[in-house]
């Protein structure tokens, strides 16, 4: 059975061109980039070229790119190292809808090291209040970590304005751009972001490679010690094949950036309109005016997400859910709860995330297969049958 893969915010397929670019660096060009000989030296050139390719995607200098193992490492490092760099500042600002890589790390510093932690709320569409941010950030704030776009809802935060607010108080601004790099334009020449996390496997590079962007002049102590690699900040022999792959993936992402915002966006809109018109009691979670072009988070009232996903799975459709049951947790997604989405809807939320590989045939197949699944589960639900609770029939 063919897989209709609509879970690209979880991970993506490695692009064939990326794999081709990586392949020589396993058994042919396996030299150590730090070696004196030419065999290693050519590999150092490949790493340097990859650094340039990443820098080109986000408009920064190659020397501001530090390769890490994943987005989570980049997030952890940004927070740990900044707090180490500014020990006199004791306040951390983040949001209630961050990825656990940021949220859990910030809470660790609150509970174990006595930091003051402000988690900014969001409104029912997942938007931040910039006025509240302005009131929250003070001269004691060491770091503000606010994601560029939310992985579950696709809501994009105005990081240009957020960065300006943070910089006016002298704190460090970190953004988790794992969901946005390669999907929407990022121009670091115009936005005073200090630190930014990127993950390879969200943009058609393999798993196991990430980037921490560190703006020139940002004070960041070494985070892995014991070697001169990555300017002595992250020691350890470079993961050359993956670095080369990530470089290629960034080059391709830059080339496809327009397509992402036209063709992929149009497919996402087609999916949204198709499901809204044909399914019972659908609700969009998020802010349609400020959303990633590839993401659709939609709730079906009175049915449960895991059951929807497993029925979809039988048709080869791969998506994800904010329902409690999919994760083994008992409460639904912290993002949807922060938005005040009623539990009834949060349990029945499905996230579709597209990529440049998604075709119209696939979208039409999902539009055809999903409504009967919702109907079947509604017929089985003690709530879904009550006509007074339903707005459509």
């Amino acid at each position: 059975m063919k897989t209709i893969y609509l879970d690209n915010n979880a991970t993506t397929r490695t692009d064939d061109e990326v794999l081709d670019a990586m392949r020589p660096y396993f058994s042919d060009l396996y030299g150590n980039p730090s070696s004196m000989h030419a065999f290693g030296g050519q590999v150092a050139h490949a790493v340097a070229r990859a650094r340039e390719q990443v820098a080109a995607l986000i408009h920064c200098s190659p020397s501001e790119i530090f390769f890490t193992s994943c987005g989570t490492e980049s997030d952890n490092t940004a927070i740990h190292s900044t707090l180490e760099a500014y020990p006199e500042r004791r306040h951390i600002v983040t949001t209630r809808v961050e990825h656990p890589a940021v949220r859990v790390t910030c809470r660790h510093f609150q509970s174990r090291h006595g930091y003051r932690l402000s988690e900014l709320p969001v409104d029912s569409q997942g938007r931040l209040s910039l006025d509240l941010l302005e009131q929250t950030v003070d001269d004691d704030t060491a770091i503000v970590s606010i994601m560029h776009a939310n992985n579950e809802t696709g809501v994009v935060f105005p990081i240009e304005r957020i960065a300006q607010i943070v910089k006016s108080h002298g704190g460090v601004f970190h953004t988790d751009a794992v969901q946005t790099a390669g999907k929407i334009p990022i121009d670091l020449r115009r936005t005073p972001i200090d630190l930014m996390s990127i993950s390879g496997h969200k943009i058609h590079a393999p798993k196991g490679i990430g980037v921490l962007y560190v703006r020139h002049g940002t004070h960041l102590p070494p985070f892995i010690m014991g070697g001169h690699q990555e300017q002595g900040k992250r020691a350890g022999t470079e993961n050359v094949p993956h670095i080369v792959g990530l470089g290629k993936a960034c080059e391709l992402a830059l080339r496809h950036l327009d397509e992402e915002n036209t063709r992929v966006r149009a497919l996402r809109d087609r999916l949204r309109e198709g499901l809204m018109a044909r399914c019972m009691d659908p609700y969009i979670n998020g802010d349609p005016d400020s959303c990633l072009p590839n993401t659709l988070n939609i709730s079906f009232e009175f049915v449960e997400g895991e059951a929807i996903l497993l029925h979809m799975d039988a048709f080869g459709i791969a998506a994800s859910s904010g329902s409690a049951c999919t994760s083994g947790a008992l409460e639904p997604s912290h993002v949807l709860r922060a938005m005040g989405v009623p539990f009834t809807r949060a349990h029945g939320s499905i996230r579709f995330s597209l990529s440049r590989y998604t075709t119209q045939d696939e979208i039409d197949y999902v539009i055809e297969k999903t409504p009967p699944i919702i109907e079947k589960l509604r017929r089985m639900s003690p709530f879904g049958r009550k006509p007074e609770m339903s707005t459509k029939t």
Partner: protein, 280 residues
């Protein structure tokens, strides 16, 4: 991705007995939209309080739907008295097994069945578990319900309690209280049982008590070492037994008979008993 058994998948994809019986004799409703799962069980009774038909409506994940489907299949044809003895483990066993984090789905099935039976007997539609003090306010779980899942499923960790009845799975403020309940229930069950000895027993009562004591107090420790024991006869205060398995060849067998078998039988049945080995 959950590792569901084929039976769970089958009952999820092709659930048995979906729907609602018109004018049912028993109705059991448990759970809520907010909790993430809910089950409405309706039952029609035939002659002699035998369950002629059972149907369900469930809001919930795959294992909640499969547990509901299994529940209806299990109870159909049972008398209410038999159905009363169905446990959440029976539902899980029927499905092969459920992932530990999904055991609360089987507990929901058992709760719905109880609520339905109670509804028939008393006319009450109140959730059975709601007797007693609420410990977990996030999911509305009472002390009685927690005690029950701990006892029936032999739970020892807070996480297990959460997996079985959701208590402690929200804000987590009640976790220390759950631990106390676990300790109390387990403490009570681990204390040595004192034998409720009738003052005078008929021979039949005495044999029955001896058999029960062997099953409960003696056989488990013998089986652990590959042995066993069989009760051959009881003549007055003489208990005739025959060692089995490794016990039949074990040189320490006479000691086992005196120190374990006779000691336990004297403790739980009668001080006068003497255990003798017979070669079967």
């Amino acid at each position: 991705m959950w590792d569901y058994t084929d039976t769970v998948k089958d009952h999820f994809r092709n659930p048995r007995n979906v729907g609602e019986i018109e004018n049912p004799d028993c109705v059991g409703e448990v759970g809520s939209l907010a909790c993430g799962d809910a089950l409405k069980l309706t039952i029609r009774l035939g002659e002699g309080e035998r369950i002629a038909d059972a149907k369900f409506l469930t809001f919930g994940c795959a294992s909640a739907i499969a547990s509901s489907s299994a529940l209806t299949e299990i109870v159909k044809g049972m008398t209410l008295a038999e159905a009363e003895k169905v446990t959440n483990q029976d539902i899980a066993d029927y499905l092969g097994e459920l992932p530990e984090q999904k055991m609360h789905c089987s507990v929901m099935g058992r709760e719905a069945l109880e609520a339905a039976i109670r509804n028939y007997r008393t006319g009450s539609t109140e959730k059975v578990g709601l007797e007693g003090r609420v410990v977990c306010t996030c999911f509305g779980v009472t002390e009685t319900e927690i005690e029950r899942v701990v006892r029936e499923n032999d739970l020892s960790e807070i996480e297990q309690v959460t997996n079985y009845c959701k208590a402690g799975g929200g804000c987590g403020a009640c976790r220390s209280e759950i631990q106390k309940i676990v300790d109390r229930v387990r403490g009570a069950s681990e204390q040595p049982r004192t034998a409720p000895r009738p003052a005078r027993m008929t021979n039949i009562q005495k044999i029955k008590l001896i058999e029960e004591t062997i099953d409960r107090e003696i056989r488990p420790s013998l089986v652990k070492d590959g042995g066993d024991i069989e009760l051959i006869d009881v003549e007055g205060d003489r208990v005739l037994v025959s060692p089995r398995g490794t016990c039949s060849t074990c040189p320490a067998s006479p000691i086992t008979l005196k120190d374990l078998v006779e000691a336990k039988l004297r403790e739980f049945v009668s001080e006068e008993l003497r255990v003798e080995e017979v070669k079967a």
